[in-house]
């Protein structure tokens, strides 16, 4: 990704947005509901047209070279966009065929293995849990190894274990060199995953920087003594046992 700039207005949802995402990094767009995150992602993935401004994804202009952009990206929307009636494997081969790849079956089997869905692969997606659907959804986005991936609120509606599964998958992606633009309304998610974080509020980017840079915006930390209590998440995970089969945080 060479750089991404954007400034446009649309129903005043986005009032001039500019930012760049470095190749191979995870960039988190943080914002509350209605901040314009989804609109922004839809414009970058050529589903919507901007009224003004321009954006470049992987060197291609989203307005003038939409077909090239679609060749370079994949989108995982806010709701797991999977086919409920097909099996997990069929969903993956469907996407592989639509990306005009050879050996759709092999690609599907590899991704099922990578996302621990091999056993569920033959079952209809309607029988999957929320976390499994999300994993399948993200696996579908990886078919053909697109260099840029948009994840629009990938953990909304997931239970804590599902969130950790998705986080692990996203980290793996970036370590493989994929550029990830992630939107989220969860602060800890941005903190956990992102190399850079931008806060989108009322259609504008308020701040944009690394976690350390953002921390410096506030007065320096003062030392306080706080009794270390386990968080509810620690309790939940130790009770249901997810912490046992993976590094939780």
């Amino acid at each position: 990704m060479q750089g991404l700039e954007k400034s446009f207005k649309q129903l005043r949802v986005l009032r001039g947005v500019d930012f760049d995402v470095a190749r191979g990094s995870i960039f988190a767009l943080l914002g509350s509901n209605g901040a314009g995150k989804t609109t922004l992602v839809k414009i970058l993935s050529t589903l919507l047209k901007a009224d003004a401004g321009s954006a470049v994804v992987h060197g291609f202009d989203v307005a003038a070279q939409a077909a090239d952009v679609r060749e370079s990206i994949s989108l995982t929307g806010q709701f797991a966009a999977v086919d409920e009636i097909l099996s997990g494997r069929e969903n993956l081969t469907l996407v592989a065929r639509l990306r005009h790849l050879k050996d759709a079956g092999t690609i599907a089997d590899d991704l099922l293995r990578r996302f621990s869905l091999t056993e569920a692969g033959g079952r209809r997606v309607a029988t999957y849990s929320g976390g499994m659907r999300r994993r399948l959804d993200i696996a579908m986005s990886l078919v053909g190894n697109p260099p840029v991936i948009f994840l629009d609120e990938p953990t909304t509606g997931l239970d804590p274990e599902g969130r950790l599964e998705v986080w692990r998958a996203v980290k793996e992606l970036a370590s493989g060199g994929t550029t990830v633009l992630l939107t989220t309304q969860y602060l800890d998610e941005a903190e956990q995953l992102a190399d850079r974080i931008a806060i989108l509020h009322e259609g504008r980017i308020l701040v944009n920087g690394t976690l350390d840079e953002l921390r410096k915006l506030l007065p320096p930390a003062k030392v306080e003594y706080v009794e270390k209590q386990p968080t509810l998440e620690d309790v939940f995970l130790s009770l249901v046992g997810a912490a046992a089969n993976g590094e939780p945080r």
Partner: protein, 253 residues
């Protein structure tokens, strides 16, 4: 046209056909109303209806086939709506595919599903004593008219499929279409109707289409009525494609 159009349409058609194969209830619910009407009108009400000299099932079948198509296409709107609502439509649109393939796959699926339903209804009618003296050419002409009518109504169904805000809204538009044949020559000859009703019945699309099908089945000359029937089908098709295209562009932009 995108060089992948044919391949992408075929892949997506395969997906939708798999949906139908896995939920054959969409075919069953499509054919159950027409078959129930066929039974009701032939065995209960038919004895009191004066509709020419031949057997009443022969008179009735063309109208029942129209009702079959009208109820079948509500599933087209339903399937399209679910794809939009579930987000898979957006996933396809963000992929390097021929974008129009997404709509065409739904249209072709509708054609296949409706043809299966029509075959089922015709088989039931044959079991009930329906007979046609027409030859291969006559059957091909019947098939041609039914395919054209299905195509026109399918594109009509694409409009609510793209614009509806609820599942009910997406499929409810078909109800008036199902009742249109009642005010036509489908069940009784229009000559028995009072003036204004008769004027409506004789000038709405179903009557000309039903009369043409009936003449073809009976091996009689179709006369100029077939041109009226074809004009209706093509007219509905063109208008529906224009409005569906507009609804689609509103969705994409």
């Amino acid at each position: 046209m995108n060089r992948h159009f044919v391949g992408d349409t075929a892949v997506l058609l395969g997906r939708s056909l798999r949906h139908i194969a896995r939920s054959p209830d969409t075919i069953i619910t499509t054919v159950i109303t027409p078959i129930a009407m066929l039974l009701l009108f032939v065995y209960v009400l038919g004895g009191a209806i004066q509709a020419g000299t031949g057997s009443y099932v022969n008179y009735l079948l063309p109208g029942i086939l129209i009702i079959t198509i009208a109820s079948g296409i509500s599933y087209t709107a339903y399937r399209l709506f679910l794809d939009l609502q579930g987000g898979i439509f957006e996933r396809f649109q963000s992929m390097p595919i021929a974008r129009s393939a997404v709509l065409w796959a739904h249209v072709l699926t509708s054609m296949v599903a409706n043809l299966i339903s029509l075959v089922v209804v015709v088989l039931v009618a044959l079991a009930m004593g329906f007979r046609s003296g027409t030859g291969v050419l006559g059957w091909l002409a019947v098939l041609g008219i039914l395919v054209l009518f299905t195509l026109a109504l399918t594109w009509l169904a694409v409009i609510p499929g793209l614009t509806a805000s609820s599942v009910d809204g997406a499929s409810a538009f078909a109800y008036p279409l199902i009742f249109l044949p009642f005010v036509s020559s489908a069940f009784v000859p229009t000559a028995s109707m009072p003036g204004p009703v008769r004027a409506f019945a004789e000038n709405q699309p179903v009557t000309s289409i039903v009369n043409s099908l009936r003449a073809l089945f009976a091996g009689q000359p179709v006369g100029s009525g077939i041109w009226t029937a074809l004009a209706w089908c093509v007219g509905i098709l063109v208008l529906a494609v224009v409005f569906a295209g507009a609804a689609y562009r509103r969705r994409v932009n």
